[in-house]
Amino acid sequence: MSLIVAENISKDYQVVAIKVSKNYGAAENVVRALRDVSFTIEPASFVSFVGPSGSGKTTLLNLIGCLDKPTEGNLTVVGTDVLKLDRHESAQFRGDNLGFIFQDFNLIPVLTVFENIEYPLIIVKNTAAGERRKRVMAVLEAVGMVDQKDKYPDQISGGQKQRVAVARALVSDPKLVLADEPTANLDSKTAYTIINLMKKMRDELKSTFIFSTHDQKIVGEAEIVYSLADGELVDKQVKGGKQNG
């Protein structure tokens, strides 16, 4: 049984999850990765899901990110019932509304820093060249990577790669940014820098940031912290008086 039950879902939430479950496998080999998870996330929140490995953090982020579908329950992301989206619509929805930051940065190795950030604007959004350049330069400036813009991913450090990943996630002005263990491959100093960068970008762009982590030091930077254990939502902590679902 989930600790938190979503209420008052008529409010303008970015994410509404009601009794969301996710099972893998079939019959007697079924693995219940998420069990009746319910929560809501308000716009411009800085939310973290924490928990040990196997607690269901990544599964939950994948569901919110429309990369996977719940086995049971209702899930509304940016006002859209994601269960109703087909493969093509899911891709379209992700491109229009979501930004992703990956643990391994996942930059495209054949593209420069500038081109990696520009990629969603070209391939996903079909933004005009002039507007593209303006927006890419703006996020490059924001993440402090202007001087590295012509380098390829293998020519920059891990921290710089994650800055680029943050910039790529934000360049298309998404309503929701999802980051799965964004600091796992970074040293603690760089990890703080990245989290603070994400927070700063949230403040500037008013996008909602949801990230997962098992690093307790990093968790402290989140405004709302949901704790997961064995696929269940077991705790919710709100900092700075910000209240949520």
């Binding site: 990110g65 990369l67 992700r94 992703f100 996942n106 495209i108 054949v110 990629y119 996903v124 996630a169």
Partner: protein
């Protein structure tokens, strides 16, 4: 589109060695195919040219039934004077015709006053014949000189066997249509190099001499060889002429004429068809090479970039766009391979043509120099085949990439 192209090129450069190998394989395939087409095509063209321009012309008109019994050269199957007049009237109106030459073909005995042998002869108007089959003069050994009445051009083998040389006097004896025998003395005006094909070992005399030997009061020609201005239109013109002559009937109400293009007159046409068939076979081999190499490299590319595919899918790249990205890579491989193959192939063909090192023997014709050329259309067709096959070969891996579940792709190690 431009960005997809840029990404495709960058990805190809990511695996330089593999790309180089694949492009090389395609380019080598294209070079071989272009080389084969140019050499076989030039051989075919040369041989067709030899046959049509030195013996049979582009097409011929006979009296209906003559061709079926051409081996015996029956004089009673010649065109009657009135029929030939009609035919001439029609031929003179055809703007496609460059020249035509009436011939009286007959068999006779050839004597050097010591020995006697058989000979097949063509009675011709030299000026008309040389316009219709311009290479005939080049077959005259020791150079062509004017050819007049009372003179004969004899085939090389006969001259050698009978020990006859230019300037010698010989006698031709022939049986006419009524069965009586007549003879005439001729001066050897030249020795003709033998040529492979029908009429390649025939002798030539003036048509009026032929009429004299055969005691023809009025000219009855065995055939009319025709040369048209555009060789590429032989078949169309043959059909047209056949249609024009189909209305001409003999006393029995049956067609008076038969029209045959060079293809129906020369056994070389079967060889030409075989060359075309082998060209198709070689093209199929090229298709197989391109198909397998591109498919292989694209399957590898998809397999190695599963996580990358997951990433671009996760950030919202539509499946169709992912498919386009990989197809574009296959397309680029095909285009690069085809262009390099075209350039190198054309250079090699040019060198072969310029140096004239490709020689061959054809029948008794030794050391024929082949000058390979390639038509721009052939280059375009081969390139189009390679590019099309490249796209087809990359479709399956590209489709697989586009159908990948982003979540599974992102988990791939």
């Amino acid at each position: 589109m431009g960005n997809l192209f840029k990404i495709a090129i960058r990805n190809l450069f990511r695996y330089k060695r593999r790309t180089l190998l694949t492009v090389s394989l395609i380019a080598i395939g294209v070079i071989f195919v272009l080389g084969y087409i140019s050499i076989s095509g030039s051989f075919k063209k040369m041989m067709i040219g030899q046959i049509t321009d030195s013996m049979i012309g582009h097409l011929q008109v006979h009296r209906k039934g003559f061709l079926a019994s051409i081996d015996t050269l029956p004089l009673n199957m010649n065109l009657k004077p009135q029929a030939f007049k009609k035919l001439e009237g029609i031929l003179n109106q055809q703007s496609e015709i460059e020249a035509y030459s009436p011939r009286i073909k007959f068999g006779g005995m050839f004597s050097n006053f010591v020995e006697t042998s058989s000979i097949r002869l063509n009675g011709i108007y030299p000026e008309k014949e040389f316009k219709t089959i311009p290479l005939l003069t080049s077959r005259v050994m020791n150079g062509f000189k004017a050819f007049e009445k009372g003179e004969i051009l004899i085939p090389e083998l006969l001259a050698r066997g009978m020990k006859v040389k230019e300037g010698d006097m010989i006698v031709v004896v022939a049986t006419n249509k009524d069965g009586s025998v007549n003879g005439k003395q001729f001066k050897v005006a030249g020795i003709l190099e033998s040529a492979t094909g029908p009429g390649g070992r025939d002798g030539y005399i003036h048509i009026q001499d032929a009429m004299e030997v055969l005691r023809m009061g009025e000219m009855e020609v065995s055939e009319v060889a025709i040369r048209i201005k555009d060789f590429g239109k032989v078949e169309a013109f043959t059909r047209k002429l056949d249609g024009l002559l189909s209305g001409e009937v003999n006393k029995e109400g049956k067609p008076a004429f038969e029209v045959h293009a060079w293809q129906q007159l020369s056994p070389f046409y079967s060889i030409a068809r075989m060359i075309d068939l082998m060209t198709v076979f070689i093209q199929v081999l090229l298709i197989a090479v391109v198909l397998i190499s591109i498919m292989n490299v694209m399957i590898m590319a998809v397999y190695e970039r599963i996580r990358e595919i997951g990433t671009i899918a996760a950030i919202g790249t539509l499946p169709g766009k992912i498919l386009s990205m990989f197809v574009m890579e296959g397309l680029c491989l095909g285009v690069i391979g085809a262009v390099i193959g075209d350039i190198l192939g054309s250079i090699i063909i040019y060198i072969l043509n310029f140096s004239g090192v490709v020689t061959f023997d054809f029948g008794r014709q030794k050391g024929l120099v082949l000058l390979p050329t390639i038509a721009p259309m052939d280059v375009l067709i081969i390139s189009a085949i390679v590019i099309f096959v490249s796209v087809v070969a990359s479709l399956q891996p590209a489709f697989k990439a586009s159908r990948m579940e982003p979540i599974k792709a992102l988990r791939h190690v």
